[in-house]
């Protein structure tokens, strides 16, 4: 307990980056355990899984046994398909969710109209929409994007709404009594004031989008990483399953990191507050 939370009073550390070595230890033991479980235990359940060495070899092989590695074009086609769907859904969610959230926070009547519909639709998990989406839209592609969009949209709208609600009343008043019009209030108070919350929403939405996308692709798509994972299972190409999972994790992580970076750039005023410890 005390180790992690009491601040070490800048005690000189004998090993310059102990953290790095411990992380390596952790990752190393994880891989070793995995390998040992698959290769050396007599437990059937483990033996069926691919071991890490095989996976890495397959992943980096110019001539992969199951057709997917960093040297094959198909690998990148799957990545591009997934990225395209995630981005399309994400962009749509921003374009519709942010304005809706802003108006819900700003105008009481909009909130009253929208809130009841939200309460009606929100308990239905986004993935339950898949069959309806397929019925509603011509073709599978828009259906998968729609389901992905849906989660991101809820996250965007709710976070924007909360962000606008959290802006102190005095900022609105200050703008008004200095001569600001409603448009000025929108641009000078509401949008920058809700920005931190909007970016929280973006990060949640990005995570949720990948979550739904993977499932949507497994259920109903022709390309994409979710499809790759499921297809590899059906074709008994087990190492490729892990390649797909790892890639999905990596792409998801990178997109969240990108959102974070843009957010920090856009909110320099906030960054500096943290910097000075105020």
């Amino acid at each position: 307990m005390a180790d992690a939370t009491t601040p070490t009073i800048t005690r000189r550390n004998p090993f310059a980056n102990e953290g790095f070595w411990l992380a390596m230890l952790g990752l190393g033991s994880f891989l070793l355990l995995w390998y040992a479980a698959v290769k050396w235990t007599p437990i059937q359940a483990f033996n069926r899984l691919p071991d890490p060495l095989t996976v890495v070899r397959e992943w980096l092989s110019p001539t992969p046994s199951y057709g997917i590695s960093i040297f094959t074009a198909d690998y990148y086609v799957h990545i591009l398909y997934s990225t395209y769907r995630a981005l399309a859904a994400f962009t749509l969610a921003i374009l519709l969710g942010v304005p809706l959230g802003i108006f819900m926070g700003w105008k009481r009547s909009v909130h009253q109209y929208a809130y009841s519909l939200f309460s009606l639709l929100r308990p239905v998990p986004p993935l339950a929409w898949v069959p309806i989406a397929i019925l509603l839209f011509p073709g599978v592609e828009p259906a998968v994007i729609f389901v992905t969009f849906l989660v991101a949209f809820f996250a965007m709208t709710m976070n924007t709404y909360v962000g606008v609600k959290a802006i102190p009343e005095d900022y609105f008043r200050a703008s008004a009594c200095l001569g600001g019009t409603n448009t000025d209030i929108l641009w000078d108070v509401i949008i920058p004031g809700a920005m931190p919350s909007i970016f929280t929403g973006l990060q949640i939405a990005m995570g949720a989008a990948w979550f739904s996308l993977a499932a949507g692709e497994m259920i109903a798509a022709q390309y994409g990483l979710g499809f790759l994972i499921w297809e590899s299972y059906n074709l008994i190409q087990y190492p490729t399953i892990i390649i797909g999972m790892a890639t999905l994790g990596l792409v998801g992580y990178l997109s969240s990191a990108a959102v974070r970076m843009v957010g920090n750039r856009l909110m320099a005023w906030r960054e500096q507050r943290l910097g000075t410890g105020g």
Partner: protein
């Protein structure tokens, strides 16, 4: 500190205050008239002349903030009228919109955290749309400089400043619009004593130079007596005028005056009134909790 404001550069220096006459006539404010019916202001009347420094004192919840909100245009009134320079400003039929002739300095401070000091200061000029940006920024820098060399922090964000500096910037942001009335809503409430003393001197300097009509809301009687020409003690809810006292201490005010007989006599007269109302407010609070 005293001579921090450069007299030459301040726009309205020496000019007699022509504008800024406020009349509040029989103003009442009832919240939720159909249901709980909370009477915040009851038949409140007061007149103040151009260039008056008026302080309004009262226990919390006495409706002094409601009064300020009505003047500023943030709230409507239930009956009565408000005149500014003999022109009808607000009545029941004519709800009032906020405007740059009555600028508020807020209790919690309301500098936009996402704008730099200079952008905050020039905000009013830019939004009223009569001033080109370059000119507005020149004015802003000039005002900041006149206020004790604040131009050196023009590019900082508010969160990088001390609370005292933030208040000074906010006052400049109000003054740059040349308002007829400056409305100060307990602006120094959250400050420690040392900072408060500095800010009082700063505010008195600004008052001396700009000759603005100031309405200063506070629950601190000493602060009110030290700063104002006139102190109005409000009753607890429903808020009316309990006591209207002229503070005829000479200006410029100094801390030493607070030990003078005249000051102590004034304080004795007002302190009882404030205590009575505070006690009433407390007892009502007890009752409402029960």
């Amino acid at each position: 500190m005293r001579d921090m404001l450069d007299l030459n550069s301040a726009a309205a220096a020496g000019k007699p205050a022509a504008a800024g006459k406020v009349s509040i006539r029989n103003v009442s404010k009832i919240y939720d008239p159909e249901g709980a019916r909370v009477v915040a202001l009851d038949n409140f009347s007061v007149d103040f002349a151009p260039g008056d420094f008026l302080a309004i004192v009262g226990p919390s919840g006495c409706g002094k903030s409601t009064l300020l909100n009505i003047l500023a245009g943030f709230d409507t009134l239930t009956s009565g009228e408000v005149y500014l320079d003999d022109k009808l400003l607000a009545s029941v039929d004519r709800p009032l919109a906020p405007g740059p002739d009555r600028v508020v300095v807020f209790q919690q401070g309301a500098l936009f955290p996402w704008k730099t000091v200079l952008d905050n200061v020039t905000y009013g000029l830019m939004k009223q749309g009569r001033t080109p940006r370059a000119e507005a920024e020149a004015r802003g820098i000039e005002m900041l400089k006149a206020s004790g060399g604040l131009d050196r922090i023009a590019k900082s964000f508010p969160s990088q400043l001390s609370s005292g500096m933030q208040r000074r910037v906010e006052i400049i942001r109000a003054l740059i619009n040349d308002p007829k009335v400056l409305l100060l809503d307990e602006p120094f409430r959250a400050m420690d004593t040392v900072n408060k003393v500095t800010m009082h001197r700063h505010l008195l300097d600004i008052f001396r130079i700009s000759q603005k009509t100031i309405m200063f809301i506070t629950h601190d009687l000493e602060e009110a007596l030290f700063l104002a020409d006139r102190v109005i003690v409000m009753t607890t809810r429903p808020g009316t005028v309990k006591l209207d006292i002229k503070v005829d201490l000479p200006r410029p005010r100094t801390r030493e005056m607070m030990a003078s007989d005249a000051y102590i006599a004034l304080k004795e007269r007002t302190v009882m009134a404030v205590r009575e109302e505070a006690q009433k407010a407390f007892e009502r609070g007890e009752k409402e909790m029960a």
